[in-house]
């Protein structure tokens, strides 16, 4: 590599393009000219560049295939079409938030379920109260399992084992009484839960899940509306683009 006045050979080559167009500063143009007089490599590079430029300048201007004049004034773009990009970003942000909230809810739910199986029942939960009422309503009713089955939250709290216990209560008044006073009922392990002893979710996850569901629902509605608006805009934009 040949150096001239501290300028690297690579730097000279960067200047060759501007040198072809005579667009280097005068001092630099002269310095590069002096370098070129003694550097065969740069001479070849320069010749190659000149040839490229000559080829590109020979590319003909193509005739226009048709006139691009406008037959009428294009309709003004509706203001809301200008909101296309912000709307897309808003939809994406809402969708990401929705996924995050659902994920958080699932995490809390799984944590809460795990805790409920381990946590000792201290007091009856509202769900347990629902379970408590159910046998009364279900007495003498052939559709008792349905009546009980409708108490989803109760089932979620007590789980399948609790549900079996409730069925037992429906079919056996004595057992129901014993359950009511907290006597352990006969049956497989896990079915001997009293209503008072029915496990309830820890307070914190349960308290957090309520608002989370509202947030989830709100975000789901927002995502749906935003996505619908974005789609409507895209369709309107495609249909509304006038041609001259």
């Amino acid at each position: 590599m040949k150096l001239t006045k501290g300028i690297s050979h690579a730097r000279w080559q960067e200047d060759l393009s501007a040198y072809v167009d005579g667009r280097l500063a005068s001092g630099r143009q002269q310095a590069l000219g002096a370098h070129l007089s003694e550097c065969l490599l740069c001479q070849r590079e320069l010749a190659g560049l000149r040839e490229v430029v000559a080829l590109l300048r020979r590319v003909p201007q193509a005739p226009v295939p048709r006139s691009f004049t406008l037959s009428q004034a294009p309709a003004r773009r509706p203001w809301w079409l200008g909101a296309m990009l912000p709307l897309r970003y808003a939809t994406a942000v809402a969708a990401v938030l929705l996924v995050a909230v659902i994920t958080g809810d699932l995490v809390i739910r799984s944590t809460g379920t795990g805790a409920s199986t381990l946590a000792p029942a201290a007091s009856p939960s509202p769900a347990a109260a629902v379970v408590q009422d159910a046998p009364e309503k279900a007495k003498g009713d052939d559709n008792a399992p349905d009546a009980l089955g409708a108490t989803d939250s109760a089932e979620a709290v007590s789980g399948p084992a609790g549900f079996v216990a409730d069925l037992t209560a429906v079919n056996d008044d004595a057992t129901a009484s014993s359950l009511a006073v907290g006597t352990p009922a006969a049956g497989p392990p896990g079915t001997s839960l009293t209503r008072e002893a029915a496990p309830s979710l820890p307070e914190t996850p349960a308290a957090a899940r309520g608002p989370l569901r509202w947030v989830e629902a709100g975000l789901a509605v927002a995502v749906t509306l935003l996505a619908a608006a974005t789609l409507a805009q895209a369709i309107a934009r495609r249909r509304g683009t006038p041609r001259g």
């Binding site: 960067e14 560049l49 590319v59 006139s67 009428q72 006038p242």
Partner: protein, 194 residues
């Protein structure tokens, strides 16, 4: 220039006839820039039409200066949008942006063989342009093909003269390397260098 200023002012008041006179003045520049950026006649025609529609809508915001540069900046953006859309929908874009071998106009002075050779050379140049990054392609299309000054090219590209120089330098070097792969089409030094 006075005529152009008058046409722009009338266009800003919504005069389509005045705007159409501007279209006729500049449609060749716009179409050819789009042709070199996109490499296809049909794509270039779509981009040119989109450019003039957008320009009419936006002309109220034109605050003077070089109208041609302003218009070609809109054209360059329209081409970039189309290239972006083509990347997003490759199955549609391949057909729409396919180079047209008949795009090279034939000179009366040249024989059919010469025309075929020149058309092939131009097709190779276009492929070389297509292989460049968009900004370098735009610089070569403006300065080397359309003959813009560095300053005007900088105005179209919305950048500095120094950046134009740099993009030109890199783009030309890449083109030189690309064209060395086709020595049979090239005259002179490029063929000797291979």
């Amino acid at each position: 220039m006075d005529l152009e200023v008058g046409l722009v002012q009338r266009s800003q008041k919504g005069d389509v006839d005045a705007f159409n006179q501007l279209v006729e003045l500049y449609q060749g520049h716009v179409y050819n820039l789009a042709l070199r950026m996109l490499g296809s006649e049909s794509g270039a025609a779509d981009a040119a039409q989109e450019t003039f529609i957008s320009a009419f809508r936006a002309i109220g915001g034109f605050r003077g200066g070089n109208f041609r540069s302003w218009l070609l900046r809109i054209a360059a953006n329209a081409c970039k949008d189309m290239l972006r859309a083509a990347r997003a929908r490759p199955t549609l874009s391949l057909e729409a942006l396919e180079p047209d071998p008949e795009a090279t106009p034939r000179s009366h002075a040249e024989s059919p063989e010469e025309h075929a050779l020149r058309a092939e050379l131009i097709a190779q140049i276009q492929q070389g342009l297509d292989a460049l990054p968009q900004d370098q392609r735009l610089a070569l299309a403006l300065v080397d093909i359309q003959g813009f000054s560095y300053e005007d090219a900088a105005g179209v590209m919305g950048t500095s003269v120094g950046t134009v120089k740099s993009r030109l330098s890199r783009g030309r070097a890449r083109m030189r390397d690309y064209l060395r792969n086709y020595p049979e089409l090239l005259p002179g030094q490029l063929r000797l260098d291979t």
